[in-house]
Symmetry: C2
Subunit: 389 residues, 2 copies
Amino acid sequence: MVTLYDVAREAGVSTATVSRVVHGQDRVSDSTRLRVMHVIEQLGYVPDGAAQSLSRRRKEIIGFVCVESHGRQYDVEAMNLLYYDEVMRGVGAAVSDRGWSLLITYVDGEPERDFPRLRALSGKVDGIIIGQSVVPAPVLAQIADRVPVVVIGGAPAERAVDVVTADNRSGSAALVTHLIEVHGRRRLFCVDGPADVSDARERRTGVERVLRAHPGTSLVGSYQGKFSVQSGVSAGESLLERHGDALPDAVVAANDQMAIGAIQALNRAGVRTPQDVAVVGFDDIYPGGLNDPPLTTVHQPMRLLGERACIRLLDRIARPELHPRAEVLPTELVVRSSCGCSPDSAVRQPVKRTRRSRQPDGSATGPPQTAARRRSPGPADVRIPEIVS
Amino acid sequence: MVTLYDVAREAGVSTATVSRVVHGQDRVSDSTRLRVMHVIEQLGYVPDGAAQSLSRRRKEIIGFVCVESHGRQYDVEAMNLLYYDEVMRGVGAAVSDRGWSLLITYVDGEPERDFPRLRALSGKVDGIIIGQSVVPAPVLAQIADRVPVVVIGGAPAERAVDVVTADNRSGSAALVTHLIEVHGRRRLFCVDGPADVSDARERRTGVERVLRAHPGTSLVGSYQGKFSVQSGVSAGESLLERHGDALPDAVVAANDQMAIGAIQALNRAGVRTPQDVAVVGFDDIYPGGLNDPPLTTVHQPMRLLGERACIRLLDRIARPELHPRAEVLPTELVVRSSCGCSPDSAVRQPVKRTRRSRQPDGSATGPPQTAARRRSPGPADVRIPEIVS
DNA sequence: ACACACTATGTACGCGCTTACACCACCTGC
DNA sequence: GCAGGTGGTGTAAGCGCGTACATAGTGTGT
């Protein structure tokens, strides 16, 4: 292994000078610089990351905690992972823009294993990004006590850590408004997410609010799923069993996976989507557009979520005295066919904030600049046309 | 920040003893151990990763290089990433089983940016896993000169680095054999992958070998795509344009994305799959099963690929004197409907090695034990039934 | 009673790098 | 001619941890 000392000796300078050349900030005479650079090239010197971290007292690494459904359930749950993959890419992009690195840790929901893992992680990074409800709150608190933590998803004012989340409530409200006002749907069925996931609760709240504002509409029933395709299938079966005689005219699932599962179950029973029952999802994962029928859903800006979380985290690392904040990112309504719209009228429509949530620090965070700047061009900016259902 | 010294002072012992307690390997008296552990708990001590790495002369981190299509093309290419996400999860699982960590680096094909990034990466990890053709060979060679490197994918005997790959040739051969023998297809069209990706070349070779063995069959034409959905659409359009008067009866795409794209293009022109033209893919990415019609394809064991690559890498790190080897993992034929089979007869069938490839070290590597052990239960083990086309 | 083995613990150095500080040579202005 | 810069470079003290080696303490056999 080639070290700084080897380079220094070979170039006839001190280690300090080599270090200065490597980082190019301090003044070094041109002749010395050239000589040192030549030796570096020739010897193939690459600085040791561990030594740099130790010396700088900063590792320039951030940790990302990923959920991992192990073993048997893996295939069934596969799509659940799509969400985190997307977020991670956002984090990855933001991180490498700044020359930092990304350390991944997988947890599988087994506290015996997960806690030591996260604990060890906190000694290897300068900050951690984690999905909401990936680990229990007390564990999170212990970790957050050691290094800055940003939580992705969840209700804005939830915790004493930074939160970056999508505007779940407005998103599902927009979706239900579309079902009611454009397609005249009246009798809804909710496929909810797990009770301990506040994203899921927020989405349900959005539904209820719209229902309350529209006389003549009602919630026929609901089913609590687990965000998996399989639980969507179960939801569909439960729906058929309990309300087979008087089906609702729309199913609102708390995520795309469950919507896809529900469509499959209905389909098998001869109930057609969207003719008999409209079905909508949430998140806008990739396969949703490939589904038959293509899924109408709410786009959650997963990549941006990751980017913002990363930026927020780096900010906290640079200035630890800052108070935790929440940042709520806008969503988009993605109209495809499973709501009853014709395939031709596929559009994406930005969802406006229905109501500003209170922030932990009392301020109301608007959409960050990058939201608009980074949003992909094209369909997103198309105005919503007259939709013929 | 709480250090080893703080713990030692507080517990009234030396740092050596604390270190021994933390790692639990050397003998320490029970009373001392308990006292130290209590102090550790109380102070919330977590060892500093950088210091450990430096001191041990081993970072216990492995690097994974991920491709990242930036900007505009992002949405279109999205599915391309599914492959690496899956592989990465395999690597992640193997890595954390052993208590090591995973450091992710994204490259975007811009050598100016990529090379310094990889160079820096090599100073932060003990070894690197990278997809074939992610970076040019010379760059790879430079990196491999510094730390052990395992390449995922590619022809077995390709390089002076370790390779872990799926049996592309046998896989595509099995697919084409199925099309010919079960469905009586005779006139094929190939949608190839990029010329510099040897996975793609291998698949094409598999097709040709089967064609040669079956008199009366022929290759009507081919199109060179880029592995993206969009290029699959282009392939379909090109096919219609050039062979519209006498369509082939089957399209063999080098990956699922292009197969999906081709189906879309054919569909728009009123050509039905599989009635008019059968279309098959390769890889078995998740959305393929959701496609309309569900895609017949070859399952590439992406997760296992990641696991094996990781194990191989750790082996190389532990014993650097080992020679590079290639490991070829078996594939499975996944029969769904796009080949012409009925939806009910969906099966997965292990693909046997058609011919052993020569290995760099002269040995012929059979499927590793874990291949069979880890393969998910259920459909994979079902015998292939009589298929009615 | 003494040499020896064995266990429990402490001392101190090195891992490779950064950086505060010291130093030297040379220049400027009075 | 000399104080006071200023630019270029070297010296050396850590950063937090692991561990080889030294040491103290406690048996064991003769």
